[in-house]
Amino acid sequence: MAIKVTINGKEYEGKHGETIRDVAKRNGIGIPVLCERAQIDPFGSCRICLVEQDKARYPVVACAAPVFDGIVVNTETELIKGLRKLDMELLFSNHFADCVAPCNLTCPAGIDIQGYVGLAANGEYPDAEKLIKQKVPFPGILGRVCPAPCQKECRRNLVDETVSIKFIKRFISDINFEKGTRYIPPVAPSSGKTVAIIGAGPAGMSCAYYLAQQGHQCTIIEKLPKAGGMTRYGIPDYRLPQKELDAEIAEIESLGVEFLYNTELGKDVTIDGLRRSFDAVFLAIGAHVSKSMGIPGEELDGVYQGIDFLREVKLGKKFDLGETVVVVGGGNTAIDAVRTSLRLGAKNCYIVYRRSRAEMPADPIEVHDAEEEGVQFHFLTNPVKIHGKKRMEAIESVRMELGEPDASGRRSPVVVKGSEFMIKADTIIMAIGQEPDVSCIGADCKVRTTKWSTFMINEETFQTDIPEVFAGGDAMRGPCTVVECIADGRNAATQIDRFLKGQELTPIPGVYSVQRGKSLKALKALEEEWKHRFPTEPRAEMPMLNPKKRIKSFVECEMGFTERELRRDAGRCLECGCFSQYDCELRQIGKAVGAEPTALKTKGEIRFESDLRHPFIMKDQNKCILCGACVRACDELHHVGAWGFVDRGYVTTVQPSFGVALQETDCEYCGTCVQN
């Protein structure tokens, strides 16, 4: 006999004995469920299927509430939405696990690091490269120059040392080149749309790489003779050989991307002109203007700016550096400049930096390599005047001491009065900072700029004030890392693609993930525990060319892992990210109801060790939501009853009786528990 069931204002037919969920499901009305299982009686423990039923005092669970004639149900009221959100947040607050590994989450480009490291550990290098290229086109470049923030968050650090994520990426790049198995993505049929990209640096090229795959015709307009931007003209060959660069750039070209060299925005082309000829424009001009120190004597010979110096070395210019070179600055550019100077024949090379070693922003490995090569460091020192007649001869400097922290959190250097002294030098290279040259867009251009000389954009869409003109990379952010620029390039490509297709430019969502801790620091307390649980296994060492030898040329210093060491190091990965992350219902529902994964996390979260005693069935109590499906399936469907609830309340767990290994019970290895 049919009965009238009203759900969300519409009438449906129901049968006696059906639940609200039965009727809703049959009519395509979505109600989230977690503890419901076909063939097993409703349990009602997860509470995610709560719906409002007229005249009922409190919301009812749709999976168990029976329908009756005239029942009125609402499934999307504010109350229900709020309860669903809180329900998930409560479950997440006691979920000591990671959906996505911290390395993936830390990577600005969101590379699936756990994925590619795992593939590399199994020797599946082409698949590993393909996975990397979903997010970045340049494994070879990044495997050599990326500062690898992922490695700081790698949880292997709690056991011994990070997994060598960066070097593994380099190996994958190199071996695929070697074997001719490089991944070239397919290109969609031509869309008929065109995009002009200003700047052939990592941001511009990445943007082109991803737009080309969508079938859009990209033209990269580059001021300098070759592509690469900072990766060619800012990073010395001994770190990133130009032939590596050329090989990866060639892959971009092979997708049908056009490169126009020696073509300058503001001189050869204008924004307005490009807007007429192309459907969209991406400004990725980088930050190639050196910041001057503004001290007297800068006009003397022998005075250079860091990035100009590095660029000109690449362009083939010859330098007479004399015997003694002083490089001012603490960043990677300074280190690059000083190590380049050594290779150009300078005998004494110094870094002069106004703060101390601890505050240097340069990559510590670079600093270490520089010291190995004989570079000396003067910390807490700052030049105030350059002395000389035509060519510089000496640098007048003062000593500094560290005072209160400034806006960046680093302690400000304060001049020590009366501490002036002279440093004799033939060359000074100033590498204290750089910024974009925004004048190239022309004074009339509507694109707004910031006080730091960068392009202003809508952060969600990458659009400037002119809707078809986008910007990204150093030109938008100020000087940052290669990987951040590549991420900008890809995300801008997503938005440009939507723009070209006439779609809405919705914000690009972040990664939805529950986490065991917001950062490695938060998990420090687990160090003792993890050191005991995982046997230590030292990190693979990167073989280096002998320092005395390597300063004689610009040959690459890091020689790369052997395959054996690569697979060993990749095998050290703890696989923090959950293997169910792609099909996990908790994750899907949590995202759908807008639950914030860490909203209610407290110190009261219980941490369990995984039970790995059974040969096939593994249980991680941290991920258990106590839905009881495994217990009930084993008991009621299979009549074995190997699993049971243990204890009660907050500390309830699911275990075989007496906590013995599952195989010591009547377990039949049927896997019903896992399926359910």
């Binding site: 409703p42 349990f43 009602g44 423990s45 997860c46 509470r47 995610i48 709560l50 409190y58 919301p59 669970v61 168990a64 509430a65 029976p66 109350l79 709020g82 309860l83 809180l86 329900d87 409560l90 479950l91 607050s93 006691n94 209610l600 407290t602 110190k603 009261g604 939501i625 106590l626 009881g628 609830f645 204890d647 009660r648 309340g649 907050y650 500390v651 309830t652």
Partner: protein
């Protein structure tokens, strides 16, 4: 011939009634002028051990009669005299303690403290089993239910659902095999009415339950009594045996062909088993985890059969209702809450014990007239009603008449009847934390909102009482409370937030003091108080230094002592030990 009637429930025994009884026997066995009987507790627990002297139809009630007083007591009686100072209730004139009894109306508890619970003949002599006989011989099942409905009796366990309606559902449920349950789990901390009833008048409950079984059509009944009540279980088992022997229980009751067998099951220590579906699961030999409803136990209870579940007190009211009629019962009480209710008074009240009063009596009347006010002549700050499912009613609402709906309007519930009185020394935030820690301990763990939600709430309250609360805590508590009420599977979760909600509503200033000023106005929360020696009262007796378990209190003999704040654990031992009031808490 004088009858000496000794109050012999658990509370009396704990107060020394066993020693008193033994002494009486030692002195009077063989003396034909005296007869010694045991009885339950007359409700004046604050004055136990209690001994009634019954002579010539008059009852002289002696209080505080510990064994050391027995000799003098007997001496006096043998001389035909009474020791007036020791008499708390006198047949000829009023006493100070009379006010404890005056406003009471004993319907369900009329036999407790009067009859010997271990002697069925005492019960029969007190109109015992007359109601059952009337029912089995002159009424049909529907008539019984109609009387109960007419009485307006609502479930006395706390939910307050109409008893008559419940019986109607179970009667109407299809099926031949039906069950009755008597819920004697009494898990509310601070409640001891059911214990007192089962210990003092088990037959009254048996009779009520048997009448219900007839009405509903049940053949088997279970008493579910918590294991912490061994005397109640013992007396219940004995009563059932005696009832069976006399034909009031078991097969062919009173020769009418009606069969109803009773079994006693002891609970195993789970508050949640007071919830009826959890109780049923427990009887079925499972973990006490509630299940979704519908279906309701009235149609699908124990082993899927129709089951009626009522509280001890509910059944205890039935014999009166049948004997005198539903209308007589409904003469007492208010519009929506008819009859009387048994309450257990405890906490900072001068006179703690069990009372039975008509619904509609105000809280003030209970505190002042019956309870005699707060100890140390303090002021009543709040009364906690309904245990962990209830709430704290502040003093300014104590003129509220006790009635299911009116009390619910304050945010508390009438509950099973436990009333715990608090004074200025009680920290209301600590009370909320205390109830929540109880709930977290007792949650069955099945549903997300209760299992995880209450734990998260407890953590917030623990932080607040430890001086680590933040402004966001109160709105977060509010949100969690609201959601846990609406999202939980059973009554435990649905009512767990009540103590927090009522204390937030009426004592928000205390929460704010803890959070903003890091102070505990009641001087209870350890992290927010300090112990200090008052210099001009200290005599240097060194008692505190010797008592202090961590060496925080120290000083030279005859010199003013001091307390090292960093070492002090706020255990309070020094303050308890000091004979000169020289240690204060700030």
């Amino acid at each position: 011939m004088k009858t000496l009637r000794v109050g012999y429930n658990s509370c009396g025994i704990a107060a020394g009634a066993e020693e008193t009884l033994n002494k009486l026997h030692a002195l009077l066995d063989g003396n034909s002028n005296f007869e010694i009987k045991k009885t339950g507790c007359n409700g004046m627990c604050y004055l136990e051990p209690i001994v009634d002297v019954i002579e010539n139809g008059k009852i002289y009630t002696y209080g505080g009669l510990t064994s050391d007083k027995v000799e003098k007591f007997i001496e006096s009686l043998e001389k035909g005299k009474h020791i007036d100072d020791w008499i708390i209730l006198h047949p000829d004139h009023s006493t100070a303690q009379l006010s404890y009894q005056e406003k009471q109306v004993k319907l369900a508890t009329k036999n407790i403290g009067v009859i010997d619970p271990e002697n069925i003949d005492d019960y029969i002599a007190a109109a015992g089993y007359q109601a059952l006989e009337k029912v089995l011989k002159t009424m049909n099942r529907q008539q019984v239910i109609d009387q109960v409905r007419a009485s307006g009796l609502r479930g006395r366990g706390g939910a307050g659902f109409s008893c008559g309606m419940k019986w109607q559902f179970a009667k109407d449920a299809p099926g031949e095999e039906k069950y009755m349950i008597c819920n004697g789990d009494e898990g509310d901390p601070g409640a001891f009415m059911d214990r007192s009833t089962l210990e003092g008048d088990p037959h009254g409950v048996i009779e009520g339950m048997t009448i219900g079984a007839y009405a509903v059509g049940a053949q088997v009944g279970f008493f579910y009594v918590r294991a912490e009540y061994p005397l109640a279980v013992k007396r219940l088992r004995l009563a059932i045996k005696q009832a069976e022997a006399k034909g009031y229980s078991g097969k062919n009751i009173l020769g009418t062909g009606f069969n109803f067998s009773l079994h006693v099951i002891e609970g195993a220590g789970a508050f949640v088993c007071g919830e009826e579906t959890a109780l049923i699961a427990s009887i079925e030999g499972k973990r006490g985890m509630p299940r979704t409803r519908p279906p309701f136990p009235a149609t699908h209870g124990i082993w899927g059969k129709p089951t009626n579940n009522n509280n001890v007190e509910t059944y205890a009211n039935i014999p009166y209702i049948i004997r005198e009629g539903g209308a007589a019962f409904s003469k007492y009480g208010t519009d929506m809450s008819k009859g009387t209710k048994v309450f257990a008074l405890a906490g900072k009240i001068k006179r703690g014990g069990m009372i039975e009063v008509p619904m509609g009596i105000t809280i003030n009347e209970i505190v002042n007239d019956i309870g005699g006010g707060i100890i140390n002549d303090g002021k009543c700050k709040a009364v906690q009603m309904g245990g962990p499912s209830g709430g704290c009613i502040p003093a300014h609402l104590h003129d509220t008449p006790i009635d299911y709906e009116k009390i619910m309007a304050t945010g508390a519930i009438v509950g099973s009847g436990g009333m715990v009185f608090m004074d200025q020394g009680t920290c209301m935030v600590d009370i909320a934390r205390y109830f929540l820690s109880f709930t977290v301990e007792e949650s069955c763990g099945k549903c997300t909102f209760c299992r995880v939600g209450t734990k998260r709430m407890l953590e917030i309250l623990e932080r607040i009482t430890a001086g680590e609360g933040t402004e966001e805590d109160i709105p977060l508590l509010q949100k969690l409370c609201d959601s846990i009420i609406k999202g939980s599977l059973c009554g435990l979760g649905q009512t767990a937030p009540n103590p927090v909600l009522t204390t937030l509503r009426y004592f928000r200033d205390e929460y704010e003091a803890h959070i903003r000023e890091k102070k505990c106005p009641a001087k209870k929360c350890k992290a927010l108080i300090t112990y200090r020696v008052v210099a001009d009262k200290c005599t240097g007796c060194t008692l505190c230094a010797r008592t202090c378990p961590v060496g925080a209190a120290s000083g030279e003999r005859k010199q003013v002592h001091q307390i090292d704040d960093l070492k002090c654990t706020r255990c309070g031992f020094c303050k308890d030990a000091c004979k000169f009031d020289a240690i204060v808490v700030e």
